[in-house]
């Protein structure tokens, strides 16, 4: 089945044929439906797990109640009779006024927590951590928001660093990933080297 679908999608990418496109379209639509089903299953699993936590008073019952309350609020707002799904103003309010500000607040603390984590990793005297933090310091200096001649020089240096050393590493990684993906896909499609080996 995997081999048939793989060859079909590859052929559809390379050849212009209406019948082939139609069959490939069915395979792609099936993948989308499976993904949507998996997402729904994951949400249902989360709800069941948290409901279990709440009923059995294990783990974090308050957190479980908040998660379930949040899910219920969004579901009621989006699915109540006459609602307009995720475009409904009530869902919009929940997202704009609650979800995004709370998420942004949590992520804003990343600045402080990342600095603390970097200090702790340096305290372990690990060579990798030293290289990582040194590179971070260099990048931070290059991205300093200064105007004028110094800013232009920093910007130029940042551009050079991106185009030459960092660009080279990323191009190499992208090419490597592409080759690896192609090889793995070909092995999967043709049934070469299964995981049982």
């Amino acid at each position: 089945m995997v081999a048939v679908v793989g060859v079909l999608l590859l052929a559809d990418l390379l050849l212009v044929n209406a019948s082939l496109a139609e069959i490939a379209g069915v395979a792609i639509d099936a993948a989308i439906l499976v993904a949507a089903g998996a997402a729904l299953a994951a949400v249902a699993s989360l709800a069941l797990r948290r409901a279990g936590d709440l009923v059995r008073r294990r783990g974090d019952p308050i957190g479980a109640a908040v998660v379930l309350g949040g899910m219920a609020a969004v579901l009621i707002a989006g699915l109540r009779p006459g609602a307009n799904g995720s475009s409904d103003p009530a869902v919009g309010w929940l997202v704009s006024a609650l979800l995004i500000p709370m998420g942004a607040t949590l992520f804003a603390l990343l600045f402080v927590t990342t600095l603390a984590a970097s200090r702790r990793s340096l305290a372990t005297r690990s060579r990798e951590a030293t290289v990582l933090v040194t590179a971070a310091v260099v990048v931070l200096v290059l991205l300093l928001p200064i105007g004028g001649g110094v800013g232009a020089w920093l910007s130029g240096a940042a551009g050079w660093a991106l185009d030459v050393p960092i660009g080279a590493v990323f191009r190499g990684m992208l090419v490597g990933v592409a080759i690896l993906a192609a090889v793995l896909a070909a092995r999967t499609v043709f049934g070469v080297g299964t995981t049982d080996e």
Binding site: A35, S86, S87, V95, F170
Partner: protein
């Protein structure tokens, strides 16, 4: 002494946050201008927008993430306002739940600020990750392969875009669009706004021309925002520019903290080498 250091250590993070908050509240940027450095990315974006036909359809792939959206938000809002000012029709679509949440917030904001609703279409959320991108590429325009994508998106009015604007940050960002959509719709120009963290990943695509334009650093964003004339749609852009002073202080604090740790580590390593030599 150690008690004093412990107290100072505990006070450091709140003190830094207070200093940054104070810097944000200061009215002027004290001569610091983010937009005065290299403006080549801004020129590239403007050139791509200038190539659009009259009243174009632009597909907005909105898949930012909560963690980095604050960095690109002023640029995204200015770019959306710029496109609307150019008469573009915007069709929003998201392929990640987080991107959809942020898209809902931006669409609500555009509605609140009385952007022309006839120029804005909400295609909603499309599950399926890369498969969804492939289906989207096949389903757009007059030569669409089938009508399934219309059914999934709940509309029969699928756009035939001349450009895709990808707001990156999440898993399905500009790179996925270049890989999955560009080979199937060669006439579609892809431009992107992404946080700095994605810049190294996207730079090769920009250099090869697969991305027509990219704004991916606060400096690029500031240079672009300074270059646009929004006229009456100025209200759709952010009223206040991000504080360059706060950014500078934050970066300097980070450099000082990390530099101090690195210097301490280096000094202790040198002391260890010296003590080995003397013994």
């Amino acid at each position: 002494m150690s008690d004093r250091r412990a107290i100072l250590g505990r006070m450091a993070a709140p003190a830094l946050l207070l200093v940054l908050a104070g810097a944000v509240l200061l009215p002027a940027n004290i001569g610091l201008r983010l937009d005065r450095a290299d403006s080549s990315a801004s020129r590239g974006m403007n050139a791509a927008l200038d190539r659009l036909p009259v009243d174009p359809m632009v597909l907005v792939g909105f898949d930012a993430d909560l963690g980095t959206y604050a960095e690109v938000r002023p640029t995204v809002r200015a770019l959306l306002a710029d496109l609307l000012a150019r008469g573009a029709n915007l069709a929003f679509i998201s392929l990640t739940p987080e991107g959809r949440a942020l898209a809902i917030a931006e669409l609500n904001r555009l509605d609140r600020l009385e952007a022309n609703p006839r120029q804005i279409m909400d295609l909603g959320f499309l599950p399926g990750a890369e498969a969804a991108l492939v289906a989207l590429a096949r389903g757009l325009g007059p030569n669409a392969a089938d009508g399934t994508i219309s059914a999934l998106l709940g509309t029969t009015e699928l756009p035939d875009p001349g450009m895709a604007l990808v707001i990156g940050g999440n898993d399905l960002g500009p790179r996925s669009w270049v890989e999955q959509v560009a080979p199937r719709r060669e006439s579609l120009e892809i431009v992107a706004v992404a946080p700095t963290v994605l810049l190294p990943e996207l730079q090769p695509y920009l250099a090869s021309g697969q991305l027509a334009a990219l704004l991916a650093t606060p400096r690029d964003g500031a240079a672009y925002r300074a270059s646009v004339e929004l006229g009456p749609l100025e209200r759709l852009a952010e009223p206040v520019e991000p504080s360059s002073l706060a950014i500078l202080l934050g970066v300097l604090a980070a450099v000082m903290v990390l530099g101090h740790s690195l210097g301490g580590g280096l000094a202790s390593a040198l002391r260890a080498v010296r003590s080995r030599e003397t013994s």
